[in-house]
Amino acid sequence: MLDVQGLRFRAAFFHSLRSFFIAQQFIEVDTPIRQPLLIPEANIQPLTSEGAYLQASPELCMKRLLALGCDRIFQLCNCFRKGERGRLHLEEFTMLEWYRTGADYEDLMADCEQLVSSLLAELGGLVGCCKGSLDGLRPGDSGQLIAMQPPWDRLSVQAAFARFSPVSLEQALATDTFDELLVEHVEPYLGVERPLFLYDYPVALGSLARRKNGFPHLVERFELYINGIELANGFSELTDVDEQRQRFAEELRLMEKWGRQPMQMPERFLEDLAKLDRAAGIALGVDRLLMLLMGRKCIGEVVSFAPDDLG
């Protein structure tokens, strides 16, 4: 739970986020939080509400708005994921998503660098709240200074596993231990000297991402890490309708296999996807970024009410 000074900082932070996108001619959109169907993702358990779902991400609606002809849109909204509760997770959390047509994942990485730099320039002077400036970010009391000046580091998933994991990426995939190895051996070392983009994921780990040219086993997806914390997931959008349908079918098959609530194929989304050409989109965990800026250890400390503060 935030105190008054903290609430003021959170509000200033939200204001700066919006200013950044509005200054670049992005349209701020607000799509329904409660929806009849979601994008099928086997690893996300949705919360339900009177026969509908609470969104796990505004992705589905935002991409349909791209197809409608919007070329730059952003949204700051609450998202819901059942059972996610920990130092870095809340079942209800704040997401920032932005989408651009005519762009790919490299453009989004540049967006991230500029967005965070602009936040630090605007908020860095708020002494007592912000633990960083353009010179660097000190996320913990005793933690080292993280250099924030772009360009930030870039490391492929393949290279990250070669450097930090006891087994290679190929072995991790073959033994179905990618997630465990990533969390235990790789993530703690990412973004500790300066922010880092982990990029080029295996196809199976990017259900909505476009395949990389010349590397059909990879997708153009990245995650932004600062101080070992995953902050944002972005990718070049997959716009091939047939391939997207196949990838969704695979997610639906996994959901059935794991005994999850069955979900429908999002047909109207697929219809609209056919109208899209080149596009890219990204989701950023706003509360986690605020945690880093404020030097807090737990996501529940940077929201107005954590679950334990309610009731």
Binding site: E41, N43, G83, E84, R85, G86, R87, L88, H89, F178, D179, E180, L182, V183, E184, E187, L205, G206, S207, E223, E230, N233, W258, G259
Partner: protein
């Protein structure tokens, strides 16, 4: 039956036929990846610790644990005899399963005994017990050795450090969590 989503600090689960208690727990979930539940657990019989990461579909049996109020009767060699205060059933617990608790157990003391599948695996003592000092060196006034404590033996045979003024036939209170002297008890 529990699933990994039920895991939290203090939960007791059964793994490979043994009861474990979760002593540390961390939820993580890499982007677009699976929910992972990293647990540090202690085997409630051997005391061994185990660190393991589970996925949400992993399942656990509930261990068959039961706590019964029992009275400690007497010991013979390494066998400690207890009686259930409800149904008067008598059981024996080997000394090795009682650990440091034997230092504080006197005849007729009541305590909670934890059973796993009808086998006693642990006893929980009161936080403080009062025991009689059966051997203490007298405190020589003007002792200039400078020491502010001395060893005494209590009725269970346990030896501990106490302030110099404690004498034979005094009752003293002992903290069973640390085994340390708390105060002299007047009766």
């Amino acid at each position: 039956m529990y699933t990994a989503a039920d895991l939290r600090k203090g939960l007791k689960v059964q793994i490979d036929g043994a009861p474990y208690i979760v002593i540390d727990f961390e939820f993580s979930k890499p982007g677009k990846g699976q929910a992972l539940y990293r647990c540090k657990m202690r085997n409630m019989i051997s005391g061994n610790q185990l660190v393991q990461t589970y996925r949400s579909n992993d399942k656990f049996d509930k261990p068959e644990l039961e706590e019964r109020k029992m009275q400690y009767l007497y010991c013979q060699d390494s066998e400690y005899h207890f009686m259930d205060t409800q149904n008067f059933e008598q059981i024996v617990i080997e000394k090795e399963h009682l650990g440091d608790n034997v230092n504080y157990m006197i005849d007729n003391m009541e305590m909670e005994v934890l059973f796993f599948q009808d086998r006693p695996i642990d006893v929980s003592m009161p936080m403080f017990v009062n025991l009689l000092v059966i051997r203490a060196d007298p405190w020589a006034k003007g002792d200039t050795s400078g020491s502010d404590s001395k060893p005494v033996t209590v009725e269970t045979g346990y030896v501990l450090q106490v302030p110099p003024f404690v004498e034979e036939n005094d009752k003293i209170q002992i903290d069973t969590r640390t085994g340390a002297y708390v105060t002299r008890v007047k009766e």
